[in-house]
């Protein structure tokens, strides 16, 4: 993009009464500007960092979507991909489009919410749920479970299958939430592509599955459609962990591979939200490489399975 800022200062644009720009008519010259504007920032990335901060602030104020405390490195990467896709040369160029063109914001929202997920992702985690958490859940007449950041629902259907096999499903209510409405709709539909079904089946078995994963879906034109019974007790709903509050008390909360996109400030805030949403003896499950270290409730949990990142709130 041509940028005249470090060449001769351009005539300031005139603004008519109706807000239209018009060709400048030479009248009195404006006070002289220095010929070469000095910049306070050295490198391109420093400038880009400023632009990113302004972009997230602008998006928050315009759309109420708060990415201000997302982890910078992956945010920057996603925004650069969006710039390529939108044909914007700079972050500021992208911002202009986002502010004036809501569909462009919708596309960015999809880009910023990474929906990559899988059935029985990390089979060891689901095996630990089955062996260590299910027995504890059996002692309750009614069990509430929250999948925070459920994406397209694979994690939720995995849980539903596990609970059915353990004969617990009918006493459970599962709340599955995500900020991304498009992903949620796919979760509600319960349709996944057949491409990954082989992998999913393997994970299901490694997670201690009693039967065959194909017992739980019907294949149709390259897609697998989960049996409707699996979502009988599931409530899918939009919920943003940054801007929305606690909405219930749960026996089990899974928040896996969601907070990795947040910086530490935001992680700490969300950890408070999760902790306050757990009942006594409630269990929190995190992603395989997420830890409680340095979070405000680090000492308020006891570990149920250190390796699989399952923690219990003692009281």
């Amino acid at each position: 993009m041509g940028n005249a800022s470090n060449q001769l200062p351009p005539e300031p644009p005139r603004v008519d009464a109706d807000g239209e720009r018009s060709a400048p008519v030479v009248v009195d010259t404006p006070s002289p500007l220095p010929l070469a504007m000095e910049t306070k920032t050295g490198t391109d990335e420093e400038l880009e960092t400023i632009e990113l901060q302004i972009l997230t602030e602008a998006v928050f104020r315009r759309y109420g979507l708060d990415f201000r405390n997302y982890a910078v490195a992956s945010l920057r990467r996603r925004v650069r991909l969006a710039m390529m896709e939108e044909g914007a040369q700079t972050v500021s160029g992208l911002m202009e489009r986002l502010l004036h063109d809501p569909p462009a914001m919708e596309r960015l929202l999809l880009r910023l919410s990474i929906n990559v997920t899988a059935m029985f992702r990390d089979p060891g985690f689901f095996l630990a749920l089955r062996q260590k958490i299910v027995p504890h859940l059996r002692s309750y007449p009614f069990v509430r479970i929250w999948h925070a950041g459920c994406s397209t629902g694979e994690e939720v259907y995995s849980m539903a299958i596990l609970l059915q096999e353990e004969g617990l499903y009918d006493r459970c209510r599962i709340y599955a939430t995500d900020m991304n409405e498009v992903a949620l709709q796919r979760a509600r539909d319960g349709i996944v592509s057949c491409d990954q079904m082989q992998e999913h089946s393997t994970s299901y078995l490694r997670a201690g599955g009693h039967g065959s994963l194909s017992d739980y879906y019907t294949a149709n034109y390259g897609h697998a459609i989960f049996r409707a019974g699996l979502r009988k007790n599931v409530v899918f709903s939009q919920h943003n962990l940054v801007t929305d509050g606690s909405f219930n008390e749960f026996n089990l909360i899974l928040c896996r591979n969601v907070m990795i996109y947040f910086n530490e400030t935001l992680q700490n805030r969300v950890h408070k939200l999760l902790y306050s949403s757990l009942r006594r003896y409630g269990v929190l499950g995190l992603g395989r490489k997420e830890s409680l270290r340095g979070t405000p409730h680090e000492r308020d949990y006891e570990s149920v399975d250190e390796l699989e990142r399952l923690f219990r709130r003692p009281k």
Binding site: T43, E45, A71, V72, A73, S74, R76, R77, R78, I114, V116, N257, M259, I260, Y261, N263, E264, Q267, G287, R288, K289, E290, S291, R293, G294
Partner: protein, 192 residues
């Protein structure tokens, strides 16, 4: 000339385990810098075993990186399988974004984020591999003023990856495998 290196990033795929053994095993016990490593999974050894096996060969502590783990000098951080490893202001960050060149972790993702964060303080090393991954990241490191080493393709089990970066002009020094550890020792001494 290497000046004030702050972080070493290493990428490798096919044949990478032996190459890593050689490079990391050759580091001095008081090597002062943090080293982040992406080894494409499903190559020589199961990823879950990688840190344990490498630890047998290294005096520096090796571990699979956790999200938001602080970057501490004298430690070796491995990208966990199925996560991208990114560098983010004094900490590592993980992501499960789409694969890059069929790979997660991706070398490009690590190298680019390192270059964006530590600029000329990054020393990138591309070892043996049969992938196009790494070239973009190496170019970014160079563009931001950092330094890139490539294993001499003639000494590589698979020459494709280092050769791609060399051909793209994204490499400062080409070294035989057995000299890379020594180079890192010297570069880190300059840092002190």
């Amino acid at each position: 000339m290497v000046s004030k290196v702050q972080l070493v990033v290493i990428g490798t795929s096919m044949g990478g385990f032996r190459a890593l053994e050689s490079v990391l095993g050759g580091l001095s016990p008081d090597f002062p810098l943090a080293i982040a490593v992406v080894q494409h999974r499903g190559t020589d050894v199961a990823q879950s075993q990688l840190s344990r096996l490498l630890q047998l060969k290294c005096t520096l502590p090796v571990n699979e990186c956790n999200d938001k783990e602080a970057i501490v000098g004298g430690r070796i951080y491995l990208a966990p399988s199925d996560y991208h490893l990114l560098v983010d202001e004094g900490r590592f960050a993980l992501s499960v974004d789409e694969r890059v060149y069929y790979a997660r972790p991706s070398i490009d993702v690590l190298f680019e984020s390192a270059a964006d964060t530590y600029h000329q303080g990054v020393l990138g090393v591309l070892l043996t591999g049969a992938s196009a991954d790494g070239t973009r990241g190496a170019a970014r490191i160079k563009q931001r003023g950092g330094t890139v080493l490539a294993q001499d393709p003639r000494t590589a089990e698979s020459p494709v990856m280092p050769q791609a970066a060399i051909s793209a002009g994204a490499v400062d020094h080409v070294l035989p495998l057995e000299e890379i550890g020594a180079y890192l020792n010297v570069a880190s001494a300059v840092h002190r």
